[in-house]
Structures are given as C-alpha cells and as structure tokens.
Subunit: 563 residues, 2 copies
Amino acid sequence: MPSDLMISRGAALRPMERIAAEMGIGDHLLEPYGHSVAKISLDAPDELSDRPRARYVVVTAVTPTPLGEGKTTTTVGLGQAFGVLGQCGVVAIRQPSMGPTFGIKGGAAGGGYAQVTPMESLNLHLTGDMHAVTAAHNLLAAMVDNHIHQGNHLGIDPHSITWNRVMDVNDRNLRQIVTGLGGRADGTPRQTGFDITAASEVMAVLALSTSLRDLRERLGRIVVGYTKDGEPVTAEMLRAAGAMAVILREALKPNLMQTVEQTPVLVHCGPFGNIAHGNSSIIADRIGIRAADYLITEAGFGADMGAERFFNIKCRASGLVPDAAVIVTTVRALKAHSGQYRIVAGRPLPDELLEENVDDVLAGAVNLRQQIANVRAHGVTPVVAVNSFPTDHPSEQQAILDVAAEEGARAAVSTHFSGGGKGAVQLAEAVADACEEPSSFHHLYDTELPLTEKIETIARRIYGADGIDVAPAAQRQIDTYERAGFGNLPICIAKTHLSLSADPSLKGAPRGWRLPVREVRASAGAGFVYPICGDMRTMPALSSSPAAETIDIDQDGEIIGLR
Amino acid sequence: MPSDLMISRGAALRPMERIAAEMGIGDHLLEPYGHSVAKISLDAPDELSDRPRARYVVVTAVTPTPLGEGKTTTTVGLGQAFGVLGQCGVVAIRQPSMGPTFGIKGGAAGGGYAQVTPMESLNLHLTGDMHAVTAAHNLLAAMVDNHIHQGNHLGIDPHSITWNRVMDVNDRNLRQIVTGLGGRADGTPRQTGFDITAASEVMAVLALSTSLRDLRERLGRIVVGYTKDGEPVTAEMLRAAGAMAVILREALKPNLMQTVEQTPVLVHCGPFGNIAHGNSSIIADRIGIRAADYLITEAGFGADMGAERFFNIKCRASGLVPDAAVIVTTVRALKAHSGQYRIVAGRPLPDELLEENVDDVLAGAVNLRQQIANVRAHGVTPVVAVNSFPTDHPSEQQAILDVAAEEGARAAVSTHFSGGGKGAVQLAEAVADACEEPSSFHHLYDTELPLTEKIETIARRIYGADGIDVAPAAQRQIDTYERAGFGNLPICIAKTHLSLSADPSLKGAPRGWRLPVREVRASAGAGFVYPICGDMRTMPALSSSPAAETIDIDQDGEIIGLR
C-alpha cells in the first residue's frame, strides 16, 4: 500500500464551497484558509437550527494498546461509508497536536484510505487554533507573574500557582523549570513548568464553549492559584480573560476539511484525553448535528475514558443526545488484554502475537465486554467495530463478533484502512440500525452529589473498582473545591488509558482493586474537577530518533517523511 | 479623530482578488486566509519576472524617541499617495509582534487614516507566520536538549549553547530560567532563557531567504553552540533543519492586505531591529518590485540602524537596488535631540516640549543631518518627510524643511495620519522626483574585510564614533568566528536605537566617543555577525497596567480596546 502521505496527496479534493454545500452550509458562512481548509462562521449554529437533527454517533474503543486501535481511521471510514450508502455522513475529530508529529507518534489524520486530507495541513498548523491556545494561555501566565512582580495586590500565594506555561512541542527539559532568575527587573524566581498545549485548560475551555460569550465567561472562571487566605484567583480578577477571548476569537470557529473520499470533516480543538475530556468541540458538533444525516464524532482513548467524558461532560454542556456508540476493537488489542503479550510503541509487534490464537482473543474480550457495559450504563446502544488488520486470522475476528453477539451488541468487521468507505459499509449499516433503537440516554451521575461520591460512582460502575482511596492531601483539596463552589462540577478522572484500572500493566477487566486518588485539581473554566490517579505526563518528550529527523522538503519543495 | 480601530473597521475593503489584480497577480497565485488576507504563492517572483521593475523606496527615520516617529504611518501614507497620483504604490511592512500588542506599545498597523486593515488581523495572528517561527525555533531547542539527553554524540558543550527558546509574549519571568529539573527522565539541568519570537534567528532567516531551497539551507547553517573542541554545532548536524523548513513552508509566503484606502500591502516577517536586521522579507520585496510603480518598504528604527542593514544586509542578499530613502522626522524628535527634553513611553509629552521653539528644533537637526549623510553614504538619494502632528508649530516644520534644503535634500511635510494619501501627495511627488536621479547605490563595506574592520567602518562612518573598543572576550569570539568561516558575513550592530551612539541618553549626533564591543555573536543561518554594544533586551515585559487589561470582546462579539 502507498504511504499515508502519498494517498493523501493523490486524493481528488472538492472545493470547500462544494463540501460545505453538501452540508447545507452557504458560502457566506465560510472563511477560506488556503484552498483545502475553511473556517465556519459562529453564525452557523443559529442559522442551521431549524434543519433536521442528524443521528449522533460517538466512536470510542476498547482499552487501547500503546499503538492505538484505529479509532480515527474508523471514524473517518464510517463517515465515508455513509456516503457510499447515499447518506450524508459528517465526521468530527480533534486537531492533532504538532509536538507528537515530530516525536515518536507521527500525525493523526487517520490513515490509509480512511484519512483526512491534506494530512500536512491537519498535522501542522491547520488554521493556527493550537497556536492561539498557546498564546492565550501564556499571556495569562505572564500576567500572573507580572501581577506578583508589580506588587501582588491580590495577595497570590506564589506556591499555590497551578497555572503552568504551554508549548506545542515534545520537550522534556521544559517539564520542571525555575523562572524569574537574573535580577530584580527579571521577575520573581519561582518553580514551575511547561505542559504541551493540548493539556492547557484553555484548550478544554475552547472545546466546551457553546458560544463566544460562553468562551469569554469560562476564561474568566479559570483559577490560576489561591490567595494566602485560600481564595481562588481567577483570570477575571487578573483582567486577562478579555484579551484571552480576543486571542481565541478565530480559534473558536470550527475548521472544515474533507476525507480522501470527499466526506466533510469538522476538525476542532484537541484537549488531552487524561487530565481533560479528550473530545472535539461542542461548536463543531452543534454545526454538524444540523448538517448531516449522521454526525460521527470521536472520543479519546477507551470507552472508560473519552466516551464516559463525552456522555457526562461534553453532552451535559452541549445538551446533545447520542444515538449510538461505536466501540473500536482489534484482534491485537484483545490478545494483549489476555495479559500474555507486551506491546511497545515504536517497536514491531511480538511475533507470537501474530500467530492464530482464538483463546487469547476470548480471554482478552473481557475488556470489550466491560466497555460495552460502560456504553450501556449511559443508556446508549453500542456497536462493535472490528478494525481489520492484514495479520488478523478470520477465526479471531469471528471470535470477536461472537462475543458481541453474546452481549447482544451489533458488530461488524471493517476494512476501511485498505478499502476506504466501501470497507466500512457493514459497520455503517449496523450503526444505522442501532440508531433506530429508542434512545434512553442519561448521565451516569448527578452533578449535585459530593465530589467523592461522583468519583466513586465512575470508579465502581465504569472501571470495575471496589472503591476509591482518597489520600489526605487529596481530601483537603476536595474540601477546598467544595468550599470554593466547584463541588457541583462533573468529574474527569486522570488515569492511565492503557488499563481500565489505574495501573497500566493490568490488562483485561481488572477486579479486586481500588482507585487511588493522589491529588485533585479543578479546571473551573472548562468546568470539571480532575482527580489524579497515577503518573500523568503532560509534556511528552522526543525519543532517541525523533520523527523530525526524517522530515524534510525535497527538491520540488514537497514535504517528505511526514506520517 | 476616531480611534484607529474605528477607522479600520469603517474602511471599505476591496476583495483580495481585486487588490492582487491591481498588482498584476492572478488568482492562481493567491491563497485566501479569511476574506481580508491572502498569501501569495512562491511561484509569483518567477512568474512576474518579465514585468517592469518598480521604483524601490526604503522608509527610514531620524533617531526616534521612545514613542516612534510614525515610520509605518508614513510608509502607508506614501503608498496611498501614489494611488492618489494615479500610480500603483505597493507597501511592504513587517508583521507586528503580538507580545507588545498586549503590553505597553499596542499594535503596529500604522494609524489614523494611514493604516493597514483589518488592524486586528495584522496585530493578532495574521496567517500564523510568527507562530510557525516559534514552533520551528523551539523544535530545534528541544532537539538540542534531546541530543544531550540521549548521549550527546556530537559532544556539545552545554555551556556553549546560545540557542534560547522563544515565545511571542512579553514575559520577564522567562528571560533567565533553569530547565531540565526533576529527575533523570526530565532532561539535563541547564541555565537558559526565552527571547521574544521576533528576536529568533529563524525570523531573520525567514526574512532573508530568497526561496524555499535557500530557506532550507540557511536553517541548516544555524549554529546552536559549540563542541568541547570549539567546532560549531549546526541545525543540520542535529538533523532538525528539514523539519524546521516543513514547519515554515507556508510562513515563507508573503501576506497580502490593504490599507484603509485599498492600497496593496505586503506584510511579511518581523525580525528584531537591534540583534537582527529589522526589515520585512526579501521574498515580499521580490514580488512587490514586479507588481507596482513604486514599492515602499520600511526599515526599523533610524537610518543608522534599519536603513544601514537594509543597504548592507538585505539588499546584498536580494540583489535589489534602492532608488530613494525617505527619512521620517518629527518636530518632537528633533526637539528631543536638542537634549533639553525627556520623553518616556506610556507617559504624556512634557508640556514645555509642545511650546514653539525653533532653536531647539535646529539644535536637534544635527541628528537629521547625520542620517541624511548616512543614506548618502550608500549612494542613495534621501527625501526628508516631516510627519506632521497637531501640536507642531508652522515655524518648527519650516525649520526642518530649511535644514533639508541646506543639505540639498528634497523634503515635504506629510499629514497622512489625519489626511490619508492626500496628506502625503507632496511627499510622494518629492519621492518620485528623487527616484529620477541616477542611482549610485553601493554597499558601505566589502564583506571580505576582517570583522573588526567592518564594525569600525560602520561605527565611524554611520554612527560618528572615533573608533571601537573590542573587549578581550569579544576579540576571542571574533577570532573563533573567523576561524569557523563566518568572517566574511556582513555586520548587524546591536546597539540602542535611541541614539546614534551606544548610549541611549546621548541625543543629537554625539561626537568624541568610541563604540564598546562587549560581545560578538553570529547568526550564521541568517548570515550576519552581530556585535553587542550595550544592554539588549530580547524579551520585553508587561507594565503595571498592560494593554491586555483593557482589551475585550463586547456583547456583539466585537473586539474593544485594541490599539
């Protein structure tokens, strides 16, 4: 098969006006950014509001291996398949982070014949939204330190500041730093650090905002630290939120692209999947829901992570109701969940994992069963998608279909990577079927419950834990947040995405364990509280041979080496 | 008069295709970015190469006060005036840095009825070029530290690393930092710092590149530090230059905008005016020179700074030959050069400076005389522009015209700020006249001279110094650079822009002083060596009441407070 970059470059692109027209979006709502990307005006949701509502499908997954199980390709392939079936499928995905493009991971435009194009636009700057998040975030950081430098009239306790700086680069040296060295004119020394831009609360705010006004207010509610009396200090108090909103005004507009089969794609925002909710923007979905027969939106990591937040954070803020959830699985992931194999990112799969072994697939299927249950716990109809690989054995794929049938879930094998939309037609039919079931969507918990109770609900019902162990420091933080008025926020549990438990080495569906809550933080602007359960890296690093080393331009000025 | 933002918003904009058409640039060379900005394809210079060459006019100034003397407004007004005269004037300016927009300075789109519009696009992200520079620069920084972390096979001496990180924000706390704290996985601790993005060598590289291939090669030549044996370590050796070029590929395309009078404006790159050459891009000028009757390009600070580098660095790299140089002056600047007044940025002018005082104007005119001579030292015809202010007295303006006449230079009072292009018609006529004089343009020095001799030539001939004093450490650096093969690069002297001398408090045209060369650095990628003569701040700070505090969006989603 040709490389992703070659497939992307070989794709026939339709003019953006035609892509938009298929969605019922007129030229006056489009702002071109080059010839193959356009922003959609914030007037679109209102203007489209009397159009029929699309079926709303979230794509989630089993607990993935470090390689990922092809959730983006499945999302893209499914959108394309609806096109094959004569329906309008619109895809909504997150914007990839640029840092990892030059690190170990490469880009995130999907892949093969199920990808968003031009992949170099998507994986590099796109329309600059990520950069705008960086700029808004770091302006606030500068204003925090400047406030202290200029006399600290708000009485900020420097040791309480939780507002790091951010940059969209993999740079381990920026994780822990001391700033403000030099002399009196160079600020006040303080230990702090950088996160990658996707981990910025500003990114989560952008993704969860329902309007420019809502964005402005959420930015104002961002808490950067506390006074010496323990009162929260907000971006509003620092008079930074207005300028931040101005910096983000264009970034709030979703980006329109297309797949290699000319299926419309809304690309917008890329919040982290562990310390944030890991879903693309509400504004993009609000537009897509009135501009398609099927709106296919992706949620980060497994159903215990991205889908749970999709249901309980994103849908709560948007008011949109999902009709079905696709759970992407692979033979290799279920084999890995048997606990018999070790998969490492950047290294080839172990040979023995490629041998036919239905028993291991069935052993690992316990994870799939739990993720099916996790979707059903929200009253949503699950559909299992077996993302097919050339190394799969038919008996192994059949075993997964059998497990799905045992669980009463629709299922299909999908060959979108090599076959594009045609390869996902069976999956699309299963999804269409599932959408006809009456929805009984509901949130998992009431936000009015105490924070601890909400955390415990997720831990027990979704992760399969026996309970939670809250460290004393974490309990003090919970008390602080409840006093500060953040007690009624929904929960975004920051834990590993590589296990249903908090221990990445535990595969399958671990039982007999308790969720350790080491620390609790609040994203008051984005509107959630996130307990930290494990080591969360918020700044990735480059490897010994970063992808950047092989990326270049050739003699014709064309990009080479991007993947 | 209405605010700049109101004037900008009230301007009738022509579609970008029409603006380009006036320049003879076809639609196929345009890439729209929203409706009021477009990028111009890198195919344009070749495609336009058989069109007649425009007159090439550089706008420079007397030594400015901290308020600036209206060089951008004059540049814009002059371009507009050629339109009034039925000629095609095209304006080329730098992209403003976003940091200062939220600091004390505000934006830099020109002002009044001589400004580039929409000013909010220009002053915020524009098409993301600045962000691309930030990303490319910081990828290289991450790869430097990663190289050391992964075993340091090149043998980089960590103490020799001169490659800081950059960010487009005013943030004093980032000036001096220690990175790599934490544990083994978090890098190697190292003292370093952040500069503002405009101060990045990548920005200077982008501005001086003549093609994508040239950009790629210049990036490869960037020196980040030295081995323990004193050999330069380049971006090429770190295998970073290819990825950097890919990140910058779109940023290399100039941006097309228009003035409030629909005059075409090329906005591209914004290199610092002291440690870098402070001129907009060569590629923009290469396009403009084939797309206008008059191409008006701006050079930073006074004629001793931006214009000298324009002649000796930019024109040397581009091969373009200037026809005239406009020297912008103001009554207030010449009064300040009498040494009798103190002007502070962000504070009102002293009352006594506003009183009629021809003697002080004449006393300060010594600076103007020197800057006229500085232009002539390159064989270029000077034109003095008196940028008119409502507080000027007619006798004072006349005194400046008289001084110009004494020096044999054309001169005109210009009221473009309040009057737009019509206010600059006399100036345009003087410029048109000057362009008819036969050009005898030549560089000030031969690059084959030793570095010290080149520095001394600029110091004596342009600054009026009696000589230079090279500190021992600086001499060692000069020796190192000459050994490393950088001896034949042109010179970019980093000194204060507030005096012809290296002491910002010395006004007029100081005599009887020597230029102290404290340190010498090389921008091997950009292609110049820069001696440091004084304290150069490469990261600005926020004031006690930053502009950011009053910038916001209103109930209609419109930006307020931007200036």
